[in-house]
Amino acid sequence: MKIIVCIKQVPSTNQVKLDPETKTIIRDGRQSVINPFDTYAIEEAVQLKEKLGGKVTALSMGIPATQRILREAMSQGVDEALLLSDRAFAGADTLATAYTLALGARHIGDFDLIVCGRMATDGDTAQIGPELAEDLGVPHVTNVSEILEASDKELLCRKVTDYGTQVVRMKLPGVITVAKDINMPRMASIRGVRESLEAPFTMLGAADTGADPARIGLKGSPTQVVRTFTPEKTVECQFLQGDAKEAAGALCRLLKEEHLTGEEA
């Protein structure tokens, strides 16, 4: 089975802090990591390969330094990696990103399955998987929590919906996005880390992939951010005084006054 796993480099979110005065992001010491949701995609792709044989290729679009997280994926069982990196790709929204990743997937060629994380922690859109599937003209299933059967012809999987779960059969080639509890991502082995340094890594630019300049980067992005602002703090916090008993009493009275206890809520 030939599998592609799409990964994204994101800021390690627990280090994102805002400067209280300028309200801008403090960038010092902010490290980039593999999007946490993508680590489950990597593990699932590698497990499928170990079961069925074949190859896993990691695919990413980003700055050249993204190579580091692709090597990390290779230390966890991914066989090779393709990085799409070009100034012309910069500023892409999800539509342009999905188009670019589709070019990468076509370059890798002949894939049976593309595995994506459910979403990225920096954008939270969950749009890339379905947009990529549409660009490639293949079906997709989102939020897969378990793969029940797999061959290079079709996939039987369980997906989480708003109302419970569904068992879904998808003809391959296709795209899945995986839920975060689908597996337990492995730690890289020392051997894996060593091998990842030698593993095949390719970096391609816009021209190498035959990209339409009108569909990539800022130019290929229909959406524009016109304004960013810090949400206004509208809440005035009322501190309840006294020891635990007094404070709890005051709180219970307030909740009753606001009809927030029991059935009245």
């Binding site: 969950a126 947009e131 959406t223 309840l240 709890a248």
Partner: protein, 389 residues
């Protein structure tokens, strides 16, 4: 294409824009600011420059944008009922189009959904595009996208709205990619810009610490998803409308739902009105019982912060925050939760937040309405004792 350009004749290299840029994309070279690859054209630097040296280039999309009119809402139905978010979107659509009379339409697809068309009309739809068939028991992306695209080509709506449900978040990007237009996920504010007539779509970024307003100037329709519970639902009234029947699209059969298993009966925190949420400050797994007892007395559910789920003291479906559930209860009692931005991203919709924490500087107090500085276990015990009276 829009981009940020620096007028070098005005730039003195003061570096104010460098400090302002959330992307770190501007640097000073030879005493002039230079915009690098990381620029996402957010425009924050525009206001930072005291000398007016920064401007935005704009490319006008000449395509017949004016021929796109009105608002289309993609409805969602489950087990013979409309999803609440569909009615919330119709209510919002009425508000957005109050100046113009271009019409609101709804797209409704599924098995036995015809009876829901009148409800869509009563809540504001002038036209309902109905695609009904026995074979459409479970929504799947490709046939739904096929039918919806055919409606869009015919009706040419200026704005297309989806609920950010599991299915809506899967269908909308598929449709956006097919139409090659922009899509903004999880909007919390939608308004029409009076000058440009564009839909301004505001959504949280960076875990809710920044809000970003996004537009889609040169492509139609302008597409957005909105999470359930963000907008009010409004009252329906008896209205007249048109129902347009659509042919059933050929099913590709590439994705087939073989069976569906409903979620277990137990209520989930996603639609709980009262949540007692627990963080590391609870101290031990044994103390979780007090949270459960208070939740029982209040008629609510227990939620948890990520560290507790990671520690195995709570299950993942209980996790509130960026990587867990987004909740919108009337009352949220945060016990021993410090209020990391990832957690706060999940409780933006809570009406009243109560925070109990030993640390008087905990960030949770910034967003709380009522606060108690103290050990949450002691306060929980006292609250239980007083409510039991």
């Amino acid at each position: 294409m829009a981009g940020i350009v620096i007028d070098e004749s005005r730039c003195v290299g003061c570096g104010l824009c460098v400090k302002t840029c959330p992307q770190g994309a501007i640097e000073i070279k030879d005493k002039k600011a230079h915009v690098g690859d990381g620029c996402i054209a957010c425009g924050m630097c525009l206001d930072s420059c005291k000398l007016g040296a920064i401007s935005r280039t704009q490319e006008k999309g000449g395509e017949d944008l004016d021929s796109w009119k009105g608002i289309l809402v993609a409805a969602e139905a489950y087990e013979g009922k409309l999803h609440s978010v569909t009615l919330e979107l119709l209510c919002k659509a009425k508000e957005l189009q109050c100046d113009s009379k271009c019409g609101i339409s709804a797209f409704l697809m599924g098995k036995d959904v015809e009876k829901l068309a009148q409800e869509l009309i009563n809540h504001g739809a002038d036209t309902v595009y109905l695609c009904q068939d026995e074979s459409l028991a479970y929504p799947t992306e490709e046939p739904w996208a096929d039918a919806l695209t055919s409606v869009i080509e015919k009706a040419r709506p200026e704005i297309l709205l989806f609920g950010a449900t599991e299915f809506g978040r899967s269908l909308a990007p598929r449709v956006a990619a097919r139409l090659r237009t922009g899509l903004t996920a999880d909007c919390t504010v939608l308004q029409i810009d009076k000058e440009t007539g564009l839909l301004q779509q505001t959504r949280p970024a960076f875990g809710g610490n920044l809000m970003a307003t996004i537009v889609c100037p040169n492509h139609r329709p302008q597409m957005a998803t909105v999470r359930p519970g963000v907008f009010p639902m409004g009252q329906g009234e008896m209205r007249q409308g048109t129902v347009v029947r659509l042919p059933v699209p050929a099913l590709s059969g590439r994705v087939q739902v073989e069976s569906a298993q409903p979620a277990p009966e137990s209520k989930t925190i996603a639609d709980a009105q009262i949540i007692v949420a627990v963080g590391r400050g609870i101290g031990s797994q044994k103390n979780m019982q007090y949270a459960y007892e208070l939740a029982r007395l209040l008629g609510g559910q227990v939620g948890a912060s990520r560290p507790l789920v990671d520690a195995g003291w709570a299950q993942y479906p209980m996790q509130v925050g960026q990587t867990g559930k987004t909740v919108a209860p009337k009352l949220y009692i945060a016990c021993g939760i410090s209020g990391a931005i990832q957690h706060m991203a999940g409780i933006g919709g809570a009406e009243t937040i109560v925070a109990i924490n030993t640390d008087p500087d905990a960030p949770i107090f910034q967003s709380a309405h009522y606060a108690i500085v103290g050990d949450c276990v002691e306060v929980l015990k006292e609250m239980i004792a007083q409510l039991q009276k």
